[in-house]
Assembly symmetry: C2
Homo-oligomer: 364 residues x 2
């Protein structure tokens, strides 16, 4: 190779690398980031070289935000990614509360899942959890407590600041309740308009028969297919989000993850490399759960895994009864005109492609 | 054959006929009995020689009770079955009203169907209907007005009286809103306990995806699979019925009829005999609708057509919001303990057997 040709190749390589760097897709993950199923999808985003995770904002839901913040920080320490900021968000929903949820269950029957409100975790077939504790308590962690700290300030302010710095460039992937996003929108009425896309989760639309046997996760929601935890934990926040002027709003339905499982075999394949992320996942993964949030991360990372889409107008039922927090839908453009907007729905994905992505990203 | 043997055979034949007569299954049909889809299922019951229809009680729903009563009486005249009593029932739901329904739709979006509250019927692809009219108006009928009259008294009192006369022997097949049954139970607290079985309809449990294309009837309910007309017309009546002490309570879900259609071919086969019932159906049938109530009649007439069953605890959402009248379910025996009870559900039937039954019964 001549020197001139070599120089040309070098220039080309450098400019390609620079372009790739410049084109990395900016994302903020807003998550009720509990160890295992709550952190694995964040790892998928962190591991993708085409993605720049600007920060991880934490919201209560599966657990209380302070404990989730500690778990997220410890994960970043163990995988050597402490440059990614973690910002703690809202501890309590806007209106809902443990006491209100208990009153609702007393009157209308038990909900399948209560997240941080759960008073006693079943011994079997559930996530390994510290016993119920008050919101600000961070219980001991098997993998140790983090030495690094969260970035000061609120999650809502971080979301506002970053979208001012990169207007129209940031996708927010919300994997938990929507309290932080609702607060950001009410703090700054231009917030939603500056977000490139908001991706979130919820609801069963291709619902399995009520009383379905054999699939415990589907059975939980079969009685109330429009009720899902991220929305019934904080229904008022969901309503604010569904009626805000996002440039693009996408909802990944619960149907997408129903046929998925983080089985022992899949986890073994993903962690075989024994690199830092694989080692962390091998220590903290809990086999047997659907890949709830991993599907959401994957569908955004690689839209070609999506096999079924739709568009509906959506909002949330705010009546404080049996359907408090249930998703409401109408044909696209045909809602009551109370601020609800069309939402892009993802109903189904290619499970084998998802598994491959999970193995590749966790293993690299 | 000897005379003695002949006499023996005659005796046997007579006693068998008499036994069949004695064993005819007693039924009262409670129906929002509008011409076409509302009367065809009643004809199936009237045509079955093993069934004794003690009476037809009328409730508003698809139409107003006075018009439906006239249509039912005229049908009985034309088929020569004027011995079957028709008793007009409640014109208005217990609490709900056209004005309340309009306020609900203004706030929460249009419902797929409004029955007698419909202000203007679409020109195409709907039932042939007289324009909207006040509840007590009986508009002209193409097949003529009846000369016979309804039996005096209320439907609720008829239900109470007949179940006192035949305690534990009568099945009530409710094909419309449940106002008459709720009134009967509040008029006589022992009413439900005297009924052999109450069969009713409602809800989609094997719901098609929201925004389903290609099936307009499924699409109507896909946004609110737990809302169905018979229950959201009079939610409070449904709640009374779901919490009453029936000996047996069966609900035929909307899923059963989704794959059925009264197509032109099926109607042609059913009416080919040109006997009185076939002639009446040929005059009044409207091709293209699902066999909504015919499925309910058929599943009770011949339980072997049922292919999928289940049991759930059930009630109705009474919050005056987007889910007013929506069916609530819990696993059997696991409701909140507010009087809800286990219900036998029928999720699916054999469509080809249904078609055969329809053709046989209408044609005979």
């Amino acid at each position: 190779m001549t020197k001139a040709l070599h120089a040309l190749f070098l220039l080309l390589a450098l400019s390609l690398a620079s372009a790739a760097q410049a084109e990395r897709r900016k994302v903020i993950v807003d998550q009720d980031a509990f160890e295992g199923p709550g952190l694995q999808p964040i790892l998928m985003l962190l591991q993708d070289p085409t993605v720049e995770v600007l920060g991880i904002t934490i919201v209560s839901g599966d657990g209380w935000a302070p404990e989730e913040t500690a778990q997220t920080l410890r994960m970043l320490e163990l995988i050597g990614r402490t440059e990614v900021p973690v910002i703690q968000g809202a501890i309590h929903p806007l209106i809902n509360s443990k006491a209100r949820n208990k009153a609702r269950e007393d009157q209308y029957g038990a909900l399948g899942y209560r997240g941080a409100w759960t008073e006693s975790w079943p011994g079997d077939n559930t996530m390994k959890r510290a016993p119920f504790h008050e919101p600000k308590v961070v219980p001991p962690m098997e993998i140790g407590l983090p030495k690094i700290a969260a970035r000061p300030g609120s999650a809502a302010d971080f979301l506002i600041d970053m979208t001012r710095k990169y207007p129209g460039q940031i996708t927010i992937i919300a994997m938990g309740p929507l309290t932080n996003l609702a607060l950001a929108q009410r703090l700054d009425d231009d917030f939603a308009g500056r977000v490139k896309e908001l991706v979130m989760e919820g609801g069963m639309f291709l619902a399995p028969p009520a009383g379905t046997k054999g699939d415990e996760f589907a059975a939980q929601v079969s009685h109330a297919p429009r009720l899902s935890f991220n929305h019934f934990w904080d229904p008022e926040a969901s309503h604010i989000v569904f009626t805000s002027p996002w440039q693009k709003l996408t909802l990944v339905t619960g149907d997408t993850s129903a046929p998925t499982r983080a089985g022992a075999d899949l986890l073994a394949r993903a962690t075989a490399s024994k690199r830092p992320v694989a080692r962390y996942v091998a220590k903290t993964a809990q086999p047997g759960f659907p890949l709830w949030d991993e599907v959401e991360a994957a569908a955004w990372l690689d839209p070609t895994i999506v096999t079924q889409r739709g568009t509906l107008a959506m909002d949330v039922d705010l009546m404080p009864g049996a359907n408090y927090g249930a998703l409401l839908t109408w044909p696209a453009g045909k809602g009551p005109g109370l601020g609800e907007r069309d939402v892009n729905l993802i109903y189904a994905i290619d499970v084998s492609k998802l598994d491959t992505m999970f193995v590749d990203l966790i293993g690299r």
